[in-house]
Symmetry: C2
Subunit: 239 residues, 2 copies
């Protein structure tokens, strides 16, 4: 078993970070139900984000250093594609054209992808792992504001880190073989978290009262950053 998986299990004594797969009831974790956008906007943004993650992974597949890595990453790409397709199915069920629903979110997410693209294969992988981990987790916090059935389906669908094992294994192997890579990736991981938070914030339907909004948002982001730090720790990187 990977070290980071052990860490995730160990952290299960702190309720708020317990993996969803262990079945904590909805609502015991800090969520942002009252700041959720309307369902079509939510689904459009998540669908486009998962599509962007899928495209990033396909670039990593195209430039994989060997066939075993390539083969491993196709499994991760399949999982992300399933997330995208699941969200698209929700849009179709509402009789909404997925392309129309996604379009408003394309420019910001494309820009985000450019910023988090990385300079080589390892930075690309770390970018996908950290940003998708953070944002899947974030999007789950907004589910409580959606119609309950849809929310339940999406909670299963968006389970973060589900497909990350192979990415983590590649990163750990690279980091263990090259100390310079380790410090470069630590820096890269710290840089990513700022841009990732901006994408998350852009999805929130805020009241306009800055102080009240920050009071609601702050504990959630504290959680999300703690999870980010655990991902970095799990790779042996200083967050």
């Amino acid at each position: 078993m990977f070290e980071w998986l052990k860490k995730r299990r160990a952290s299960a004594t702190v309720p708020v970070v317990r993996p969803r797969s262990e079945g904590i009831p909805r609502g015991t974790r800090v969520d942002l139900a009252d700041m959720s956008p309307d369902p079509v906007a939510y689904l459009g943004q998540v669908a486009y984000f998962e599509l962007a993650v899928f495209e990033s992974l396909t670039r990593a597949i195209n430039s994989a250093p060997d066939l075993a890595a390539k083969e491993g990453l196709t499994a991760a790409a399949g999982e992300v594609l399933a997330k995208h397709q699941g969200v698209v199915a929700e849009l179709r069920a509402l009789d909404v054209d997925p392309a129309v629903a996604m379009q408003p979110f394309a420019p910001a997410i494309d820009q985000f992808e450019k910023l988090t693209h990385g300079r080589d294969w390892y930075e690309m992988l770390l970018g996908v792992y950290l940003t998708a981990g953070f944002l899947d987790d974030f999007f789950i916090r907004l589910l409580a504001g959606l119609p309950s059935d849809m929310g339940k389906r999406l909670e299963v669908l968006l389970e973060p880190d589900r497909s990350a094992e192979v990415i983590v294994a590649e990163l750990r192997a690279g980091i263990q073989a090259d100390e310079k890579l380790s410090s470069r990736l630590a820096l890269w991981g710290r840089r990513l978290v700022g841009d990732t938070q901006l994408v998350a914030r852009s999805a929130l339907h805020v009241s306009g009262n800055r102080a009240t909004d920050e009071e609601r948002i702050e504990p959630v982001f504290t959680d999300l950053i703690a999870a980010h730090t655990r991902r970095m720790d799990g790779l042996g990187l200083t967050a």
Copy 2:
């Protein structure tokens, strides 16, 4: 319904080209059972080929002209990825490392992908549609030489053209809008068939008696080229 689908249905009076979905019993179609490679070589080549098709499709997704086309192609990519993963699962069931089984076929298929890559988005799509259609169909002809259970599972998995509707729709729209594109794609389609046949031939376990081999191979290739011609016709292209 698309015209090409109608054509496929209409052609069902000629037994040998009847779509497999209409359930003709195995063996009534001309196959190459006695020329099948051993199962691991077969699975390795098919797995790598489907991976290459998937990668070509992801390049087409990356460079899609609009979000609706991009979204449509992700469904096709998902189907091809499922083919790859299904074949990989067969290798794992035999306790064979998929990367090791695929490796011997990587250079020739990579070279093939380069030759059939195309100069723009439409040539890329036509290349995927025609070469994957031809080779999926070809690989199915070899199934009769594999263990029977495995052959049955793979026959369902490799059903050709299953994911091609969206590709065909994009190609037809492009061709109808631009007469020059039509003649360029017709030329491209005719060029592709030669290289595609070479890949198919390389998969055959031949006896070494040239005359006997050709006698066995020729009727199968006549079938496969007839199916290729129907795909071209369905797009309004002269084969």
